[in-house]
């Protein structure tokens, strides 16, 4: 998908972010991520990885510089445009964030209701997503009846059900056991192969080496390395 002239999906240009309490979370960050890429974000605790993600999903506002995401200019994004921006991405949470009173099917269907999809579309896309993550048989289960790894796979299905152009995942394997981590990243790889850009924050260095992808390393708010091939 990303062959030929690569198109930028996310661009950071001289980005600064300081929290209200004075913490300088990001300083002069410059980065470009193209459509179809799979990027790991690594770095020590407190280095600014989550802040980097929060700026992309507009959970936090930047102080200086410019961020372009899917054509949205983050410095001048109007409040009304935030939902539109977020519909272009699928967000995966470390703590899964499944709604406990809804079964697997309903959880995955949830984002489709938000965009007003028809029942037929919903049925089609949800079963596609659930089959992709290997949970087609668990559609009627409640989240509490699933293992951590299974719950995160439901989270993945939910993130991709609306065909986003990118999936943003901040430590998606943080709450699942190590074997399951590989399964999750395998799935992300498959989703990426089908054309979706993947941005994933992780602490698991071995996993990053094994998957052999682009690695962006952040330390104390600066990008200190940006290598292809799982090197950092």
């Amino acid at each position: 998908m990303s062959s030929g002239a690569s198109q930028p999906l996310i661009e950071f240009k001289g980005v600064y972010k300081t929290y209200d309490n004075g913490t300088k979370a990001l300083s002069d960050v410059n980065l470009r991520i193209d459509k179809g890429e799979f990027v790991f974000i690594v770095g020590p605790s407190g280095s600014g990885k989550s802040t980097f993600i929060k700026l992309i999903i507009h959970e936090e506002k930047l102080d200086a510089g410019e961020i372009l995401v899917n054509g949205f200019k983050m410095s001048s994004l109007r409040k009304k445009e935030v939902p539109l921006l977020r519909r272009t991405m699928g967000i995966v949470f470390q703590d899964f964030r499944l709604i406990p009173t809804m079964n697997v099917f309903e959880n995955v269907a949830f984002p489709m209701h938000v965009v007003g999809a028809s029942k037929r579309e919903i049925r089609k896309r949800v079963s596609y997503a659930l089959n992709l993550v290997g949970l087609g048989r668990k559609a009627r289960s409640l989240p509490r009846e699933l293992s951590g790894g299974e719950q995160q796979r439901v989270g993945l299905a939910r993130a991709l059900v609306n065909k986003p152009s990118m999936i943003i995942a901040d430590e998606p394997t943080g709450n699942v056991d190590p074997n399951m981590s590989y399964e999750i990243v395998d799935l992300l790889t498959e989703i990426n192969r089908r054309g979706t850009t993947i941005l994933m924050v992780t602490h698991e260095h071995q996993l990053v080496r094994d998957f052999d992808r682009r690695v962006v390393m952040i330390e104390t708010g600066h990008i200190v390395a940006d290598n292809a091939g799982g090197v950092f």
């Binding site: 939902p83 977020r86 949470f93 964030r97 007003g116």
Partner: protein, 310 residues
């Protein structure tokens, strides 16, 4: 918003009432208590109005004469009363003591005659000679009454005017108290519903954070809460009308003796049912809507850390 989104969100709002049923019941209960007080005040005042108009249409004073008057004296007292200012001579009549008895028997039933006869002796009654006088202008009530009292041979009088005065006072007291009560109760209901919505929202913070993450607009997020508030308001209104119907029936039965003394027909519930239903619905819907909008807006306005801070 698409029709199917609206349908989905209405479903979500209704589901939420059920999922948070304890709080829903509490809100409906509080709303009902306020509405019921209001409704009973309305029912009371409707009936007082009817009593008043009955009384006013009569303008009648019953004047009882001294026992020991001769027929000529009675006749003279009657003429004096008829010629008083503010007394309508054409509608002022003399009722002899035996006619009075007939009147009593008419209302009590003829079978009582034997008792009267046995008691007082045939043809005798202790009922006084009476003049039934009609006033032209009730505004001059006090002057007219003292003029009547000044006529020689008048023993006492009886008029429903005193009752009218009491009722007017009570009614205006209830109206004033009622308005303040309504204001106060509306505020309390609002706070309680707002609290319900706040608690459901606390439970649904997770859901809201996901809604935001997948690009739901604030309107979309707010919608189910509004459905919830409005529905609680409607449920409370309908239940209150039902409860008030029953209470009204019970009250009328309990007050039957008083009502028959006043000889007036209570206003049927159906006369004001639609008015109170409309008032209740309006109040319930507005309370529900305001409560949900206020509560959730406070949360939706927040920006930053909307996903992390759960």
């Amino acid at each position: 918003m698409k029709a199917r989104s609206v349908r989905y969100l209405i479903g979500e709002g209704l589901k939420n009432i059920w999922l948070n049923r304890m709080m829903s019941i509490a809100s409906v209960g509080v709303l009902m208590a306020s509405m019921l007080l209001m409704g009973l005040a309305i029912a009371f005042s409707e009936n007082v109005d009817r009593i008043m108009s009955t009384i006013e249409s009569q303008n009648v004073v019953m004047i009882y004469l001294d026992d020991d008057l001769s027929d000529e004296q009675v006749q003279s007292v009657y003429e004096q009363i008829r010629s008083l200012d503010n007394i309508n001579p054409d509608e002022t009549i003399y009722i002899s003591s035996s006619q009075a008895l007939e009147g009593v028997l008419e209302t009590m039933g003829p079978e009582y005659e034997q008792y009267f006869d046995a008691y007082f002796g045939e043809g005798n009654t202790i009922l006084p000679e009476t003049v039934r006088a009609s006033m032209i202008d009730l505004e001059q009530y006090d002057q007219t009454i003292s003029a009547i009292e000044n006529v020689d041979g008048v023993d006492s009088y009886d008029s429903s005017r005193d009752l009218a005065v009491i009722l007017t006072t009570v009614r205006s007291a209830i109206n004033t108290a009622g308005i303040w009560m309504i204001v106060l109760l509306s505020l309390i209901s609002l706070v309680i519903i707002a609290n319900t919505v706040r608690i459901t929202m606390f439970n649904r913070k997770l859901e809201i954070s996901i809604m935001k993450a997948v690009g739901a607009t604030n309107g979309f997020i707010r919608f189910p809460f509004m459905v919830e508030g409005i529905t609680l308001g409607i449920i409370a209104s309908l239940l209150t009308v039902g409860v008030e119907y029953l209470l009204y029936k019970v009250a009328i039965r309990a007050l039957e003796p008083i009502i028959s003394i006043l000889s007036f027909n209570p206003v049927p519930f159906s006369n004001f049912m639609w008015i109170i239903l409309l008032i209740f619905l309006a109040l319930g819907i507005i309370a529900g809507l305001i409560a949900s909008v206020i509560t959730i807006s406070k949360y939706l306005r927040r920006e930053g850390s909307e996903f992390s801070a759960l």
